[in-house]
Symmetry: C2
């Protein structure tokens, strides 16, 4: 491992360089640890991995907070060593997921914009120690983040002690791409002065008291490449339905020609939608989102996207191209803290079009993003609530069926509500698009069944809705049957 | 009826004075009509009442948008005359409720901050005609609202034609209490420049092109006095539990001494909580809310509250006192448009403590504010979502049982989700208070059952939770039983 002291430009900190094994001696049982990492990019690596190793012999339990999900199987390894007592605000690891669903790890599933806010204002405990991944420490002691900003700024601000992990694998040219703005504590807070997607309102690094840095470690471990399912017939149809809708909205003057700032959840459907933009007539697209994926850079390359703001870069096939030509992208992207990328004030002001993926939605427009059959946590709500709650247009996409048709993604009643009927504007499957704007529940039901449900489930949905309507109510339901589709799936392996 | 032309200080408009019967000739079948009125205060009166009368002989259907609920039985009378095809964004009328639940009127139940925003940006249709209740029209043609601002400013801005209804019953001294700030249309929108509860950022009246005013009518019909159930043993216990919590939060330094700006839903529980503040040690309280009720003015009178910002004044016993001594209150209150009083940007920035009433909540912290047994609309979500979604602390209160114990307000799974587990911090009943901050679902369940459930339902809730946990999951549920309490109530009249 290379120890490149040129990356520590605040010279008095050179003496804080040590091994990860030495650094983890600061981490004590019962502590809250706030660590870098968002969307599998920019996480601290050697420190958590050393902690997982040490805990096999010397058990330790921590509350483990990050930006969002981590690469390098860090959640898996910490979980296997029983280090994680509580996890927040998001995760996407199969081993940890299993422990959460068994009730062994307490998972505080949070809106990603809220962790920083809640820690700052004593709603939840602030970190004792922050472990911050960095490209460098500047002459004035600022910490320059790596491939994500996440919650690193607020963790560093609030923690008593900071461990910096210099990541040798990250191109130093990333310095300058971050824009660190931390809202002051209430009650003395003013407006966040951002009015355009591309504006810079903060500093290039995280400004902290360098005295708080107790250890600096180096790592040579690259970010894990994201792996994305290839687009298939259904994801392409979803993308087509959505792009047709956008084209029509522009044609009738309800959306501006560049649509306005776009947010997109992570995944193959989002990727397909963005790929669809490549061959559309839209131009000057802008993104104000969390994760900048391959598709973001593809749109920049072909001249369709003029600026993308996020809090993380999670790259797969384009990683090498982007990093090698970073000078080209540097004035076209910015990485912000997640309480700025996902901030309700900014989402409302900018008028974001939010596109996120649902596990299932119901005939009245309620959306489940987190729980399989209402009980088993998948990953967490992530930023979908931050955006949906305050978006100009809140859109959810999903395939109309799953497991070869054993599951209908359109159900009488969702088994868990993450986004409710009040917040949803548009639902899209490969079957079509339901425009729910301004509609009452009974109107929505007919549209959703007609446009989004799979043909193999339409008759059953219409039958449920018709019989519920006979009973009456603003939102007609048959309480004894509302969740029976899920129960049937649990018992018989199919909703059919 | 007095026609006082001194109230129309823009003299060229004098010729637009006419009777309500004449004015309603502008209203055509199929139109969207945007009318003043919020919380039963400040509604237009003679125009809708004349419309209800005329429609008995000459049927007409409109989309009827207001600020929120109306006094003077206007919704009832328009509904009985079958005038309302679609109603938004809120209502609280028994006759209209019945028509909504029968599927005869389409009800677009909206977050109250969103109607203005959605009309402005073509998500829903903007009004053809605005009917605006006014104290006066100023020398420069501004319309001065009456006891509420609601959506009047945006309706007037967007409508092709405006009917002004001068309300003789409103004390002209109210002129100056309103602060009309209308965010500009995106994409040219900047921050809303409000950083303190008491700040004024707009104009005293609604500035429009006076050419759009096609009719001015006068009325002598007073606002309907609000009627509030007296505090009982349970509401007083809820108030005590909440105030004990606040005292403790201040003592340990998690809340400032004046708590920070308070929002409160309308109703007897909120009134009891605010009455509780009178005998507390808190001082310099501030309110940033929708409706200013009697209790607001009581707290101002006793020197506990220094400023209250709302979008409506709904007064019962204190109406006369407040109106006769309005000079005393004028620098201590302000009335704003509802997209400012309920704005997510401001709620997040100011750090609002939001206190709203639930119909029911479940063991995991999901809240139902709108639907009785999941199907029948009560009033609508109102502002509870605007505040809860972005509050510093989101608190819901309710009595632990209803209908003499036939209904438990704490259930295994709510029958409709208006506010989900991600957004709820504190739940309170007369039994106690559950502090859910930072907890995972299984931890919340035990706290909610222990602290909030009625003793007569505790065993059954624990039994459900224990058996669900045996099945596993992050949020354990038994899908065949989750809604069985509601189904049993529907079938047998009791959850017991």
């Amino acid at each position: 491992m290379t120890i490149d002291l040129n990356r520590i430009r605040f010279n008095s900190l050179h003496e804080k360089v040590m091994s990860a094994d030495q650094a983890i001696s600061f981490i004590q049982d019962g502590m809250v640890i706030g660590m870098s990492g968002f969307g599998g990019a920019g996480e601290a690596k050697t420190v958590p991995l050393a902690l997982a190793e040490k805990a096999k012999l010397h058990p330790v339990k921590i509350t483990f907070a990050t930006g969002a999900s981590l690469g390098n199987k860090i959640d898996q390894k910490l979980c296997e060593s029983h280090v994680i007592a509580r996890r927040l605000p998001y995760q996407a690891d199969p081993t940890l997921r299993k422990a959460i669903n068994a009730g062994e790890v307490m998972f505080t599933d949070q809106h990603l914009s809220e962790t920083a806010e809640q820690m700052k204002h004593h709603v939840i405990a602030a970190p004792h120690i922050a472990v911050i991944s960095a490209i460098a420490i500047t002459e004035d002691g600022q910490i320059i983040p790596t491939g994500s900003v996440g919650n690193s700024a607020v963790f560093a601000e609030l923690a008593d002690q900071i461990i910096v992990e210099i990541d040798n694998t990250i191109n130093p040219k990333l310095e300058g791409v971050h824009d660190i703005y931390v809202p002051v504590k209430r009650p003395n807070r003013g407006p966040i002065p951002l009015t355009r997607v591309g504006e810079r309102i903060g500093t290039q690094g995280i400004a902290i008291d360098p005295e708080k840095i107790v250890a600096i470690v180096f790592n040579d471990i690259p970010d894990t490449a994201s792996s994305m399912a290839e687009a298939d017939e259904e994801t392409l149809a979803i993308a087509k339905n959505l792009i047709n809708f956008f084209e029509n909205e522009v044609a009738i003057g309800r959306l501006p020609e560049n649509l306005g700032p776009l947010q997109s959840g992570v995944g193959s459907i989002a990727n397909a939608v963005f790929a669809g933009f490549e061959h559309s007539n839209f131009k000057d697209l802008e993104m104000y989102s969390e994760v900048l994926q391959d598709c973001t850079f593809d749109l920049i390359d072909c001249g369709k996207m003029k600026f993308a703001s996020g809090c993380s870069m999670t790259l797969d096939t384009s990683a090498q191209r982007v990093m090698q030509n970073f000078d080209f992208y540097k004035d076209k992207i910015v990485l912000r803290p997640q309480d700025i990328s996902n901030n309700p004030e900014l989402i409302r002001r900018l008028g974001i079009i939010a596109i996120n993926t649902a596990i299932e939605f119901d005939i009245y427009g309620n959306v489940n993003s987190t729980h399989v059959t209402g009980t088993k946590m998948m990953n967490g709500i992530g930023g979908s609530g931050d955006f949906t709650r305050n978006a100009h247009l809140a859109i959810f996409v999903t395939k109309s069926i799953a497991k070869n048709g054993a599951i209908s993604s359109v159900v009488p009643m969702v088994s868990h509500v993450d986004h409710n009927e009040h917040d949803i504007d548009i639902l899209v499957t490969e079957q079509g698009l339901a425009d729910l704007r301004g509609l009452a529940p009974r109107e929505r039901a007919r549209k959703i069944i007609d446009h989004c449900a799979h043909p193999s489930y339409k008759a059953a949905l219409n039958d449920y809705f018709d019989r519920a309507c006979e009973k009456g109510g603003h939102t007609p339901h048959l309480l004894n049957e509302a969740l029976s589709w899920h129960a049937k799936f649990e018992e018989q392996g199919s909703m059919q």
